[in-house]
């Protein structure tokens, strides 16, 4: 099977401090990204996410291991032509305007790639920077820089986009907009590899994930495989029944404005509580079964290691 990205047994050690002390940051990272999918690379701060992505993009040389991008060695120009990279907290030449910056980026590709001015305009409007295209980047906010970074990663219409914490530093609207762009990229047949520690983002858009902790991949696979579909508990919001009467069915968590939030762990007790509510002519406001989330899985893994 062809892979968009294949990393095998990556190791990297840094020497840190005045008297250099070795610190192993990557301890045998192996994962594959399939063409056309959104792959989430998940881990807490300092786990080795950025180091892995820098190894893939040729900014850091791994001590050991192998990286292939669409079947080519990752340091070859052919491989680099196929990827677009957005670094974490991007910072660009602040004396250039957004338009000048994208034009400069377009000149770093071979002539055959043919990046024309309309592409720059198209990208600026895609990331919502069309109105400020001629403003120097030094006047940009963090969120605007992130958008400019997104545009430069897409300038040559790459087959795979590598995004390091792409939604960090953005407001909720900005996050939604960029999330939509990522999903649209997938619909266009692009491959997306994104790292994040914001689990909600990954859960909403990723097809498969890998979880990295202390330089090692702890778990990887599709979200359906990793997260149990079993109902963990059910939350019912109801009114018209006293909380004391509900303790036999589950755990009444809170009461506010006459409404009680009840958490039920056993499925057969749901029917019992619904019967009680009907008999009292009380009211059910909501009933939500809670399955395992990525957060539950992640917290569980971190706790166990």
């Amino acid at each position: 099977m062809e892979t968009a990205l294949k990393t095998e047994n990556l190791h990297k050690t840094f020497k840190l401090g005045f008297i250099p002390k070795k610190k192993a940051v990557l301890k045998g990272i192996s994962f594959s990204v399939i063409p056309g999918e959104i792959f989430g690379y998940l881990g807490p701060n300092g786990a080795g996410k950025t180091t892995t992505l820098k190894c893939v993009t040729g900014l850091i040389f791994p001590d050991k291991g192998n990286i292939d991008i669409f079947g080519r060695p990752h340091l070859s120009l052919e491989a680099k032509e196929k990827i677009g990279f957005l670094p974490e907290n991007p910072y660009f030449y602040d004396y250039l305007t957004a338009r000048e910056f994208l034009r400069f980026c377009s000149q770093l590709f071979p002539k055959k790639t043919k990046i024309k001015s309309p592409r720059i305009l198209e990208l600026l409007s895609l990331v919502g920077l069309k109105e400020v295209a001629d403003l120097p980047l030094r006047k940009f906010s963090k969120g605007m820089l992130q958008r400019a970074g997104f545009a430069q990663a897409l300038i040559h219409d790459p087959e795979m986009v590598i995004l390091d914490e792409p939604l960090g530093g953005l407001d909720p609207i900005g996050r939604k907009e960029l999330r939509d762009i990522i999903v649209r990229l997938k619909e266009e047949g692009k491959t997306v590899l994104l790292s994040s520690h914001i689990l909600q983002d990954i859960e909403m858009i990723c097809d498969r994930v890998a979880i990295i902790l202390n330089g090692e991949i702890i778990n990887q696979g599709s979200l359906q495989d990793l997260i149990s579909q079993k109902v963990l508990f059910t939350e019912i919001v109801l009114s018209g029944v006293e909380p004391q009467e509900l303790t036999a069915f589950g755990e009444p968590l809170s009461t506010f404005g006459g409404r009680t939030l009840l958490k039920i762990f056993e499925e057969d007790k749901i029917d019992n509580v619904l019967r009680l509510i009907h008999s009292r002519e009380a009211k059910v406001h909501s009933l939500v079964p809670r399955t395992e989330t990525l957060e539950d899985l992640f917290v569980g893994i971190v706790k166990n290691t």
Binding site: F14, T51, K54, T57, G58, L59, I60, F61, L77, E78, K80, E81, I83, F85, L86, P87, N89, P90, Y91, F92, Y93, Y95, L96, F104, C105, Q107, L108, F109, P110, K111, G149, Q152, A153, I162
Partner: protein, 254 residues
């Protein structure tokens, strides 16, 4: 194409640096100051103007090369602009060469501006355009190339302050290494003399680019010497740049 894009971007960055204009201003002041110095001197006033003018051109150009050159690569790494650039399909040597050529272009334009001020000043005293001064300026420019390469080399692995100290030391040692030759000639044969001779051959000799006295005093210089100095300068610059590329290609951008 890629090198050209990086070079032009570096040029854009350098000309927006205020330090450059400050140095240009001081260079202009020094060149004009030579007129005042000439008034106070007994003897050939024009020669004083030429001598001080050319020295100002040499010193301030080298200072521009050092101050901007030492920040050139370091700033890219420090501000992380290098991340998005080097992940694009460019070789690291293309990036470094682009940065170097961008600064060389900046220095060339600064040198043209300083030379125009200088030549106009000389013209007002002699009422002739002394084209032979261009030969001295040409070698000052070759020296700029070398100093820029050294600044870029240090910038690849060190902070701007340390790099400036190293590059300035290189410049000063380069201009004083001829003193070592005098010392060697006066020493009796032995281990000391051999060691100093090795050191003398290893250290740069920037006096190879100093034709100020000969040109100002109209002393004929054999063409062979001009060719030697040009080849020496270009070869040394190439060697330093190769070293810089060797270091830059191996480093991790954490």
């Amino acid at each position: 194409m890629k090198i050209k894009a990086i070079a032009l971007n570096t040029f854009k960055e350098a000309i927006r640096d205020r330090v450059l204009y400050l140095l240009l201003f001081f260079a202009a002041v020094c060149i004009i100051f030579s007129r005042l110095l000439a008034l106070l001197t007994v003897g050939d006033r024009v020669k004083i103007i030429k001598d001080v003018g050319l020295s100002s051109l040499s010193f301030f150009g080298a200072l521009m090369a050092i101050i901007i050159g030492t920040q050139l690569v370091y700033k890219e790494i420090d501000k992380k602009t290098v991340f998005s650039l080097l992940s694009k399909p460019i070789h690291r040597f293309q990036f470094l060469l682009g940065k170097f050529l961008g600064l060389v272009l900046t220095l060339f334009i600064m040198m043209v501006l300083m030379s125009v001020i200088f030549l106009v000043l000389v013209f007002f005293h002699t009422f002739t355009l002394e084209w032979n001064l261009l030969a001295a300026i040409y070698f000052i420019f070759i020296e700029y190339l070398l100093v820029t390469a050294v600044a870029v080399l240090f910038s690849c692995f060190s902070t701007p302050i340390l790099s400036s100290i190293f590059s300035l030391s290189f410049y000063l040692i380069g201009h004083l290494s001829w003193g070592l030759e005098t010392l060697i000639n006066k020493m009796s044969p032995g281990l000391g003399k051999t060691l100093f001779r090795i050191l003398y051959h290893f250290l740069p000799d920037l006096q190879n680019f100093n034709f100020k006295t000969e040109i100002v005093h109209h002393i004929p210089v054999p063409a062979k010497l001009y060719i030697f100095s040009t080849v020496y300068g270009l070869f040394y610059t190439f060697f330093i740049l190769t070293l810089a590329v060797w270091i830059f290609r191996r480093r991790d951008f954490i």
